[in-house]
Symmetry: C2
Subunit: 253 residues, 2 copies
DNA sequence: TCGAATTTGTGCGTATGTATC
DNA sequence: GGATACATACGCACAAATTCG
């Protein structure tokens, strides 16, 4: 007991509530900077760490954003845009590289003779350590990082051809589907498994987001008509900017 | 400087590495209990708090599991099973209720005259506050909670018919597709948007997982042939048990 | 049945690191 | 380079949950 303050919950929760209501009331507007923790602590009559806990709570929910050396800012509410990952109604072209309707650029970096890690090998149906081509992509749209992709292709599929390297040869930048077609391979299916993750420091820097932010990791595998995996990739998409969308047509009865 | 210990990183990271390697070496097996924080701290020559931070790190990655009053346990490694959300090759029946190929049971609870919250109303293309039928589901498979679903249907669509309530009437438990068909409405498309979230205490209790665990929240909307939304739902799926899978057929060139 | 001991979970204070201005 | 502000790490005290005698 001997809590002092009127409320019933923990001090940092009450501070969080007061911060929340000030934002809701428009006292602090999106993009604006909050007073420093010292000032807020003095104003609310609590220690700086209590303010810090409250801010961490609001940061984790995406309402606030902390910038080291600068201050704590009110984040603009969801400007999430759809990132379409299925053909949908319109017959948008699909390359297996960028999402449907994606407009932007990318940078790529390939490693020619990478050894497949166990989990990647399992997805590709090859033995662990088998030679693969590993390519890392960084997609940008409007000069903002959109997603990170690491793609794996078995040398057993593409080895010796002019399309071994995704970003080299005549079909550079045309995606998996076109490159496989050049080898006489038809990519018939793509399987995607989205999974929630937290980004590590390196990923956060590349994506321009806070360390520990939530993101969706999509494990994607392309299959040919015979059901053989021809490529697999890990696709990392920040949760707060994009709205991953699957548009599925239902067969008529 | 003056760190003392041999490594280069923070003490709690080294402790985490040692815990990890003991599990990898099979000294502690899945399901087994670790020594208490005090014992581990004494053994490693660090404070209890350092052990706690290390354990929290490993808990957040899903390697360990803490049970209040009992101990810290090694979690069984991912037995994640696929949860198929698209028709795939086989023509599995789709009701809009359970995922494709789902075998299990569910409990449902409907509220007849719920007012649509703003975000739900936007998804349904109705005005905020418009009357809807809200239904909460808890899906179970092998007596384990699988997912929580909250479904919203506008009264403007189903009102006055015998299928107003999803779990009442002649088509109870047959899903959205069959119930809409009874009204002469063909459900032609379903759009799903998966997004990472952390479960709150109530959700964690219902799902039998730890508070704050990661989960995927799928916002799903069913559309009729005219493109009108006829139902929308929030589907919450724990990340560590299920592998959400979209199997997409690519149109031939 | 109940209560004490044990163990994890939570809240809070302080010192140090690091990015920004 | 100095000052400021947030980020990270560590330690302590207490609450909550579980277990067991």
């Amino acid at each position: 007991m001997a809590d002092g303050s009127s409320g019933d919950s923990a001090p940092y929760l009450r501070v969080a509530a007061r911060l929340r209501s000030r934002i809701a009331d428009g006292i602090w507007t999106p993009g604006g900077r909050l007073p420093s923790r010292g000032e807020l602590g003095a104003e609310f009559g609590v220690g700086e760490n209590v303010v810090r806990r409250a801010q961490e709570l609001l940061i984790s929910t995406g309402l606030l954003e902390g910038r080291a050396g600068s201050g704590t800012y009110v984040r603009a509410p969801f400007e999430r845009r759809p990132l379409l990952r299925t053909p949908s109604a319109a017959g948008l072209p699909y390359s297996g590289l960028a999402p449907f309707g994606f407009t932007g650029t990318w940078e790529a970096d390939s490693t020619a003779k990478a050894e497949a890690p166990p989990l990647i090998a399992a997805r590709l149906g090859v033995k662990a350590g088998d030679p693969c081509v590993r390519t890392s992509y960084e997609f940008l749209s409007a000069r903002q990082p959109v997603m990170l992709t690491t793609s794996w292709e078995p040398m057993a599929v593409t080895g010796g051809s002019v399309v071994v390297l995704p970003e080299g040869g005549p079909l550079a930048g045309h995606g998996v589907v076109a490159r496989m077609a050049h080898l006489g391979i038809t990519v018939a299916r793509v399987v995607e498994s989205p999974r929630p993750v937290h980004v590590d420091r390196d990923q956060a820097h590349l994506l321009g987001i806070a360390t520990g932010s939530q993101a969706t990791l999509i494990e994607r595998t392309h299959y040919d008509t015979g059901g053989r995996p021809v490529e697999t990739a890990d696709i990392l998409i920040p949760a707060d900017r994009w709205d991953i969308t699957y548009d599925i047509a239902l067969p008529g009865t």
